[in-house]
């Protein structure tokens, strides 16, 4: 048996209040694709950061090629051949590919960069590893999948023999995922070892040779991938239970229209952010909006919520024209909002939970009466939200900052649900949330549908969209390019509409 390339033995890492890694063992063989799966908070990212050198373990050993390592920083790891591609790319959009790749270790003297040499080296790497990137392209003009490959080039350029990828498919559409996996296989064929973190079990089973399952800071299983292993097997190892399913029952829809958009357009400086969009959401209907980020989803929600006014078109809420209404009037009329980034516009992190529950609903019961805040009814209401939506907190006077991301999301979802809206706008409601909380959010959305609320769901999670929606609209460059039946659409067709390939 060959000596494994990487061995992590008994890694322990603690943060205030949390044990991220509780004695983790991990073995990675050279020339393999090794996946590390687990829920959010299971400790995968921390473990990889230790392997990559950006964190030091409190205890435990890191062995590479049989030699014990003591990385003081990421630079030490890179010198040892370990490189990392992060989920959030660190690229300068205004620079070319080669400039981005060599940034920080430019060939040549201190005065003059040897750009010809750099381009040549990068071209070689691109060809050898099948990455198909032109060193002279401007990064800002590249698509997400290509940018990811630039990040891969960065680490290869620095001599990485082991590449760690953190949730690489989180930002990709199905076609790009296939393309990435092809590249990974090419890398491995050329002697590189790939480690990637994921919580997408299908993909992991698709491409990995070996999987390590982590739960609550420990390794619970290390298995070779074979056709005998199913998603559910993995899920059971990951969370100790079966995967939740997003499927909502398709019932008979009411005819009553809650929200209607007619020929809505939003322009800025001659460019159409939203172009002639018409849609309707009925009572008890979930309308899903699919699309790659940046194609108008944000503007669509802003226009419905009232943060932006449409240049053309009508917005009707229960038959009333609301395009000129203020955000306040729309919220008071019953539009609920679950934002995509709760920390950006969903919560006041420095305020208590009960103050946060008033956000969006501060006018009227139970938050205020006659212009004055009513603290007791509000606190009681917050206790209801916390109980019904399983928000783990010592009390309602806790500062929102102290809650974990999943609990914050549960608070936001609960707040909106318990305000009894007639229209609910949900943007990426389960982004960055682990499986357990995801199940609860989906259950809430299904409940909203059952209660007859209209729901507009914007999401990048195709499972979520397909599972929950009654009808699926695809947004591309501000227009609705497809109206699909979620029951019968395939991810490939959906992906092609999302990337505009079908036009």
């Amino acid at each position: 048996m060959r000596e494994p390339l990487i061995r992590l033995v008994g890694i322990v890492k603690k943060f205030p209040g949390v044990v991220a890694n509780d004695g983790v063992d991990l073995t990675i063989d050279e020339g393999s694709i090794h996946a590390v799966v687990g829920e959010n908070g299971a400790g995968k990212s921390t473990l990889m950061k230790i392997l990559y050198g950006s964190q030091k373990p409190d205890a435990g050993e890191v062995w590479i090629r049989g030699v014990r390592q003591n990385f003081g920083s990421a630079k030490d790891a890179i010198d040892c051949g370990v490189g990392m591609v992060f989920q959030h790319f660190k690229l300068a959009a205004n620079f070319t590919v080669w400039e981005n790749v060599v940034l920080g270790c430019e060939p040549g003297s201190a005065v003059r960069i040897n750009s010809a040499l750099a381009k040549q080296q990068i071209m070689e790497l691109s060809v050898r590893y099948g990455l198909h990137i032109d060193p002279n392209s401007i990064v800002g003009e590249l698509g997400v999948g290509e940018r990811q490959r630039v990040e891969i080039l960065k680490v290869l350029y620095r001599g990485a023999k082991v590449i760690i990828l953190d949730e690489p498919t989180a930002v990709l559409v199905p076609q790009e995922v296939e393309s990435l996996f092809g590249s990974l296989k090419d890398l491995v064929a050329n002697g590189v070892t790939v480690v990637f973190i994921s919580h997408k079990l299908d993909e992991v089973l698709n491409v990995a040779d070996r999987i390590t399952v982590m739960r609550a800071g420990r390794t619970v299983a290390e298995i070779d991938v074979s056709p005998n292993i199913s998603r559910n097997d993995l899920a059971r190892m990951m969370i100790g239970a079966d995967l939740p399913r997003p499927e909502a029952k398709r019932g008979i829809l009411s005819e009553r229209i809650i929200l209607e958009l007619q020929n809505v357009s939003v322009e800025t400086q001659g460019r159409k952010l939203i172009s002639d969009v018409s849609l309707s959401v009925r009572e008890g209907e979930i309308v899903g909006i699919a699309g790659v980020e940046g194609n108008g989803q944000t503007e669509l929600l802003e226009v419905i919520l009232g943060l932006k006014e449409p240049d053309i078109g009508s917005i009707l809420l229960e038959g009333e024209e609301i395009r000129h209404w203020s955000v306040r009037d729309r919220r008071d009329k019953g539009i609920g909002y679950i934002p995509s980034d709760r920390q950006y516009d969903g919560l006041m992190l420095s305020a208590t939970l009960w103050e946060n529950v008033a956000l969006g609903h501060q006018r009227g019961y139970p938050a205020s009466s006659n212009g004055f805040m009513t603290k007791e009814p509000l606190r009681r209401h917050t206790k209801d939200v916390v109980d019904q939506f399983d928000v783990r907190t010592p009390g309602v006077d806790v500062i929102a900052y102290a809650l974990s991301g999943g609990n914050q999301q549960k608070l936001v979802v609960g707040r909106e649900m318990l305000s009894h809206p007639n229209l609910l706008l949900a943007a990426h409601p389960t982004r960055g949330i682990d499986v357990g909380v995801q199940a609860l959010v989906w259950a809430s959305l299904r409940e909203a549908k059952r209660e007859g609320k209209g729901l507009l769901l914007v999401s990048a999670d195709l499972d979520e969209l397909i599972g929950l929606s009654d009808v699926l609209l695809v947004l591309f460059r501000g227009s609705i390019v497809a109206r699909l039946d979620p029951q019968s659409v395939s991810p490939e067709v959906l992906g092609s509409y999302m990337t505009g390939a079908n036009l």
Binding site: D332, Y337, G346, A351, G360, Q362, M373, T393, P394, A402
Partner: protein, 353 residues
């Protein structure tokens, strides 16, 4: 915090050869007398109202640096009116205060409108207005509003006695406190207390206050919740400017009885310092106002022992710096503790979300 800044000031004293003990002793002596305390209270009341004026804006991250101009413009017009209107006493007082607050509000509303319509940075706008105020005041003071009976200094007509705010000495005598004849406790103190109460109720108990604080905590979330950013800016700037104008009335109606070259110039900036030191809270600002006034009064006694009175300013300055740093450190430690407590609730072995 006081200890740290006192030590720094002590170092500043020792270097040129003065004795900190003598200096601080003289300062405390100057405050600890009856007239000393009364002066401190009078100044503190003024600084308090100015501090609240600034804090209103700070609560929503709106930095009104123009309180100087706002209160001066208010005092100019109010002084001119009070000296010339000739109405019955109490009505005169009410109108005078009203004019001061109105002018202060207008002066503050202008940069507010610039922010809302043209996205002009509020700090830049309010500071610029300060400069314009100087010119405006200079013009009016030397021409239309000038008291023709005085050729030495420029000031508005002296306010008749019945149009001035009374002092509280008689009430104090009632409770058995006898003050020397020359020391008067200004009734503005009562106004300051009223301002504090209103500040507390509006900002911490009303729905408007909730919206105000929400805008300061997370403007994007506030907007999504239905708070109109523009409306908040305009209302807050008006209130802030009005309060600044009111602060100036403590000098006009309780002390100088005229607006002119000898009117205090830096009241606005003192208000900013007091708001920062007091962390924008109704009680904090009160303590801060008192401390700043006490240091100021104390430094008046330094000249007598041959020590430069600027030590007082050093003390105030270092206190401010130390306070800001201390607040930030306390904030950070508070956050970590909050997180620890919240995650301690989870049973061991539960999935760490």
């Amino acid at each position: 915090m006081l200890a740290l800044s006192t030590s720094i000031a002590a170092v500043a004293l020792i270097i040129p050869g003065y004795s900190p003990r003598i200096a601080f002793g003289a300062m405390i002596e100057n405050v600890a007398t009856a007239s000393g305390i009364v002066t401190v209270l009078n100044s503190a009341a003024r600084y308090y109202v100015m501090g609240v004026a600034v804090a209103f804006g700070f609560k929503m991250n709106l930095f009104n640096i123009g309180t100087n101009g706002q209160y001066q413009v208010g005092a100019l017009f109010a002084g001119a009116a009070a000296g010339s209107l000739g109405l019955l006493g109490p009505i005169n007082i009410a109108i005078t205060i009203g004019i001061a607050m109105f002018c202060g509000a207008v002066w503050s509303l202008i940069p507010g409108m610039l922010l809302v319509t043209r996205n002009v940075n509020i700090v830049v706008g309010t500071i610029m207005m300060n400069g314009i105020a100087v010119g405006l005041i200079g013009y009016f003071l030397r021409t239309r509003f000038r008291d023709p009976t005085d050729n030495l200094t420029a000031h508005t007509k002296t306010i008749p006695t019945d149009s001035r705010l009374p002092d509280l000495n008689r009430i104090l005598n009632f409770v058995g406190i006898e003050l020397p004849v020359s020391t008067k406790l200004h009734s503005f103190l009562l106004i300051a207390v009223l301002v504090g109460v209103v500040f507390y109720v509006v900002v911490y108990k009303s729905r408007f206050g909730f919206d105000l604080r929400a805008t300061g905590r997370n403007a994007a979330a506030a907007r999504a919740s239905g708070v109109s950013a523009n409306r908040m800016v305009l209302i807050t700037m008006s209130i802030s400017g009005a309060l600044a104008g009111l602060a100036g009335m403590s000098v006009l109606l309780n002390q100088a009885y005229e607006y002119g070259d000898r009117f205090p110039l830096q009241l606005g900036f003192t208000g900013i310092a007091v708001a920062l030191l007091g962390r924008n809270s109704p009680s904090g600002i009160a303590i801060a106002a008192f401390v700043m006034a006490a240091i100021e009064q104390g430094s008046r006694g330094l000249a007598m022992v041959g020590i430069p009175p600027q030590i007082g300013q050093i003390l105030q300055g270092t206190l401010l710096v130390v306070a800001v740093v201390a607040y930030e450190l306390a904030n950070r430690r508070g956050r970590i503790t909050a997180i620890r407590e919240a995650s301690g609730v989870l049973a061991p072995g539960a999935s760490r979300l």
